[in-house]
Symmetry: C2
Subunit: 341 residues, 2 copies
DNA sequence: GATCGGTTTGCAATCGATTGCAATAGTAAA
DNA sequence: TTTACTATTGCAATCGATTGCAAACCGATC
């Protein structure tokens, strides 16, 4: 089973009594080669455990069949590592890429050098990039795109860009979440999350839009620009309650992680959820359903997201036109909000 | 900035007025080359955005500097994708590998062909493997190891094997968790998790040991061999309570995800945690602390785990002896268990 | 038997970097 | 000015697979 000496295409060809060119073509079922020859070569290959040397093949073909997935973390927060949503996207990307015949090289923005184009593409480590998260600035992404790197981003689809951005309809998400709270009778709705971040800006816009459409006036004091961590949400809610008492009856969170933090803070103060305060999260991570009460949230279809990203990337390889696109979202109503007014 | 024509080592060498051999050596600071020459080449390289072609380099050196990380999922359950613990390990591996100059190729056992040795190593896609999770059978792993593939596994360290296995001291973990419950006054302790799985076998052994040492007799009926999903835990607790009433006052879970499911089921039945039933989880995922009540759990040091795995792998590259090893674990006491009797 | 069109196959160059060994430049001693 | 070394640099082979183009083969037709 274990053959110590390397077994190369040349060896295989010799065994089969053909040239390496024939062997190579036979292996990939090239119709130029007679059927019988193909089968012979292929069966010998199987028998001898032959597999194409990827390095050589990549060098010759200038194609790696590898896509680098970059977790573009915001600052140094723990967001990346602890946020199940991002990781779920990575998992789905893994599936989708494999299905398309690509492998997934995992990176994160702290590691990879600043020059993505160079590091991944010029150096022929990958054929393209998928960047998960826009970060606070698009500098690195823009730079890579400007260098002609095939890339796709998970983020806010309406952001003007020269590359396709896939994401949920965040404005609608914010709108749905807020409207649901209002219909449940909420009048003073907190917005938890930093509106400076592209996706969040939209969600916040949807939040304000919903308020206005229902005759409520957005109060800037109710928007809490915090980091995307449960801890930040927990602290924020505690501070707010301490300072102003329970001056709100609903919370729109820009991620389920924040919702969990908020929920914890409120429960510790014996605030009744959803009677006294209703909470809506975002992303529908597994945990949302497991909480007590389970959390109403905006679900983003991650499988569809992965497929769209991969397909946009493949289009770039083929020179076809590409564009930003949205992914389905839907409101998952659970127990952290009141059913109706 | 963007140069369309490929810029190769040869071009760089020509610009610098040296041969490719000199250029190559200069780039990697080979002392054979005069300092001045090195600097000249390096600065030209920077200036022209040169970066070594990985494919060519790999072909020539027979070294990829890539490690394939395989998520070895148990069956078709959602475990992989939803379990934050595994993903945390991946994230830590990413860091540790990068620090050691390696890249991380992400795979999972559904994708990769059955013949890992061939697919990853012979084909020169990676230099070694890190397998996360032993799975229910070691077949694939053993096969790869037998083929001489450098590999390390995250699993139960006491499993006899020809390759190093890194993992927590699971017996001690089970023991600690159970003892803690007993000291809190629990008499009828449920064990939630499938003892068939290597790591879980040990945790279960620790559980039984703790019971015996405290004069309690393990009751087989209290061991619930369920899948590693919150849903399974939720269903299991519901079934048990429905059939036998609340015939237990403590639960040892083999993962926090199970603890969450159990917690939810109990809360829905208005069982008081920890007064009526205490719960201990395993892994200390972020959520454990965020639950209400927060969950007492066994923490495994994932950063240390990643470092040990990587270091064991590097040792294999260097031909040094290797061996299985354990990672620190500790009991994190929170609110889901009673402080004392 | 020569010719022709279509099938199959093989030759040899190529992808870009690395490295053992030979060659040259440089320096100090004779 | 040689000689003897050492410090630098360059030559050319090599890693293994792919592919454009030319060559060989095959059967059929004239």
């Amino acid at each position: 089973m274990k053959s110590d000496a390397k077994f190369t295409l040349a060896d295989l060809a010799q065994l089969a009594g053909v040239s390496t060119s024939t062997a190579s073509r036979a292996l990939k079922n090239n119709p130029l080669i007679k059927q019988a020859t193909r089968e012979k070569v292929q069966s010998l290959a199987r028998e001898h455990n032959y597999s194409v040397n990827a390095a050589a093949s990549r060098l010759r073909t200038q194609k790696t069949n590898v896509i680098a997935v970059i977790l573009n973390l915001i600052d140094d927060t723990e967001q990346s590592i602890s946020d199940p949503f991002l990781l779920k996207i990575v998992a789905e990307l893994n599936k989708a890429l494999n299905a398309a015949g690509y492998e997934l090289l995992l990176s994160n923005s702290f590691m990879a050098s600043d020059d993505w184009a160079n590091y991944f593409i010029t150096s022929q480590r990958a054929d393209g990039l998928i960047v998960v998260g826009q970060g606070k600035s698009n500098e690195k992404i823009d730079k890579a795109a400007a260098a002609g790197v095939p890339l796709v981003v998970w983020g806010e689809p309406t952001t003007p860009s020269s590359y396709p951005i896939i994401g949920g309809n965040n404005r609608r998400g914010g709108y749905l979440a807020t409207t649901h709270l209002i219909e449940g009778g909420c009048k003073h709705i907190l917005f938890l999350g930093d509106p400076d971040h592209a996706e969040m800006t939209e969600r916040h816009a949807g939040y304000e839009q919903a308020l206005r459409e229902h005759g409520l006036t957005p109060d800037p004091a109710l928007t809490k620009p915090i980091d995307i961590t449960s801890k930040a949400a927990y602290d924020c809610i505690n501070d707010t309650v301490r300072q102003h008492g329970l001056n709100f009856d609903g919370i729109v969170c820009i991620s389920d992680m924040l919702a969990l933090g908020a929920l914890k803070a409120l429960k510790e103060r014996y605030v009744n959820i959803p009677a006294d305060v209703s909470i809506v999260g975002y992303d529908d991570i597994t945990l949302a359903e497991l909480m007590h009460p389970s959390i109403t949230t905006i679900r983003q279809d991650t499988q569809q997201a992965a497929q769209k990203m991969v397909s946009q990337l493949l289009k770039q390889f083929e020179g076809q036109p590409t564009g930003s696109d949205t992914v389905d979202i839907s409101l998952q109503v659970r127990r952290s909000t009141r059913a109706e007014n």
